[in-house]
């Protein structure tokens, strides 16, 4: 099949809302969104605590978390694989090669981004707000809601960056999901598989959806920063 025909067929897959095609897109979005929500639930408070806490070894922890932002997806996949494999510490849970395993792997990838950006954003805000909040009796944990709210636009950008990273990665979900048809096959793993098989229309169709998603994420991040500048100053 030539490239032009492949493109035509790819657009046809998208426009006729092919059920198999939609199932892959749906699973990808479900896995990634769940991972981002989990990373936010863990990462926002953890980043806030790290922004305000002072303890021996804090700098080393901050550097480690910053470095983990560049954690290769295959390494994240390997860690989760080792944890969930039959002989691993969590092997009895039977989660390997399930969507849950994929969520865990993607959470591991997104978490350092959320923690690191939250820490950086809130540390800057705390330096600016400390005197005022202390004056109002809002110290320690009581200051965190104010800092999270006032950093909301920057934090939203961070979460979108995390979503972008998770939705585009292939290595981790391939290793712990197993790329099982109709069960753990996501957009990225399907693109890799179908391209190797020579089924270009499906790969191209999913590629177009993925690119559109990336574009939408960037537009949302840009909008968040513009809205932040307009309403928060």
């Amino acid at each position: 099949m030539d490239v032009t025909s492949a493109f035509v067929e790819a657009f046809s897959l998208i426009t006729r809302l092919d059920p198999g095609f939609l199932a892959i897109v749906g699973l990808s979005l479900k896995v990634t969104l769940t991972a981002v929500v989990l990373a936010a639930l863990i990462g926002l408070p953890l980043g806030a605590w790290l922004a305000m806490a002072r303890f021996p070894g804090r700098s080393a922890l901050v550097i480690t978390i910053n470095a983990l932002m560049g954690l290769p997806p295959v390494v994240a996949g390997l860690i989760v694989f080792l944890l969930l494999s039959r002989s691993g510490p969590l092997g009895s849970w039977g989660l390997l090669f399930t969507p849950t395993a994929m969520v865990i792997a993607q959470t591991l990838l997104v978490l350092p981004i959320v923690v690191s950006l939250t820490r950086a954003t809130l540390e800057e805000l705390w330096a600016e707000y400390r005197d005022h909040l202390t004056s109002l009796g809002l110290t320690g944990l009581r200051a965190i809601p104010t800092l999270l709210w006032d950093g909301r636009f920057a934090l939203a950008t961070g979460l979108l960056a995390g979503f972008g990273r998770a939705s585009a990665e292939v290595g981790a979900v391939l290793m712990v999901g197993g790329n099982i048809a109709h069960y753990t096959r996501t957009m990225t793993t399907t693109i890799a598989l179908e391209t190797s098989k020579g089924d270009l229309p499906l790969a191209l169709g999913l590629g177009i959806v993925l690119m559109t998603l990336t574009l939408a994420i960037n537009a949302a991040a840009y909008a968040a920063s513009r809205v932040g500048a307009r309403y928060a100053g």
């Binding site: 600016e128 005197d131 005022h132 109002l136 009796g137 104010t146 100053g233």
Partner: protein, 232 residues
């Protein structure tokens, strides 16, 4: 009416950093009412004294005591007003976190009207002019119904027109019964506003006098030199 938290007693306060006594054995009493102005050359310890009294920093020696529990009953306005990334209204409402929701709304409206900020209520606070920001900072502090208001160089970043407006506001608040303690490096402002002067130099309280006698008959050579503009 609640019993007063005043007088405030600062007893033998000292703040030591890197072996240096930034505040050196300072004692004074702050009774109810009036405008007490802390003046002195750069590095005299004016702002540090204010921060010690407000409880933002703890002294290494000595203590600050109030007549009774003063938690959230004294407020502070900073040299560079801290503006939350919210509207003018939300900045005031945030300071009232200890109140119930309906009380927050009515008190916020009251503060906006009292300081002529109602037309700016929905504007992002960080986009206000310097004078408007300082006015909002004072309104926000006033809304918490403090008995004592500490002001750290409240006009040092402002143009003459905004300075006049803030000075008028300070005078009005004093006439309404609020006890004010402010620092300034502007002798003219101290002459215009102060009822009492605390003159600091190198971390020590050198003179504690009513404003008229301080400016007419300073007791120490340091105070004379400062008034003459020879001690900066």
């Amino acid at each position: 009416m609640r019993a007063s938290i005043l007088p405030l007693r600062a007893e033998r306060l000292a703040l030591i950093r890197d072996g240096q006594r930034l505040i050196d054995t300072v004692s004074f009493t702050l009774p109810q009412g009036g405008i007490t102005t802390i003046i002195g050359p750069n590095g005299a310890g004016k702002s540090l004294t204010l921060r010690l009294c407000h409880g933002l920093i703890a002294p290494d020696e000595g203590m600050v005591t109030w007549a009774r529990d003063a938690h959230l009953r004294h407020a502070m306005v900073f040299q560079q007003p801290v503006m939350l990334r919210r509207s003018v209204r939300a900045n005031i409402a945030h300071a009232l976190h200890a109140l119930t929701h309906p009380a927050v709304k009515s008190r916020t409206d009251e503060a906006l009207a009292r300081f002529h900020l109602t037309p700016l209520a929905e504007r992002p606070a960080r986009l206000l002019s310097g004078g408007e920001k300082q006015k909002l900072a004072i309104a926000r502090a006033w809304a918490t119904e403090p008995e004592v208001l500490f002001l750290d160089e409240p006009t040092s970043q402002l143009d003459p027109a905004a300075t006049r407006e803030i000075e008028a506001l300070i005078r009005t608040l004093s006439l309404e019964g609020l006890t004010l303690v402010m620092t300034t490096h502007d002798l003219g402002q101290a002459r215009r506003l102060a009822d009492r002067i605390l003159f600091f130099n190198r971390g020590r309280l050198v003179e504690d006098a009513d404003a008229a006698s301080f400016f007419e008959q300073p007791e120490t050579p340091q105070a004379r030199a400062f008034i003459a503009g020879e001690l900066l």
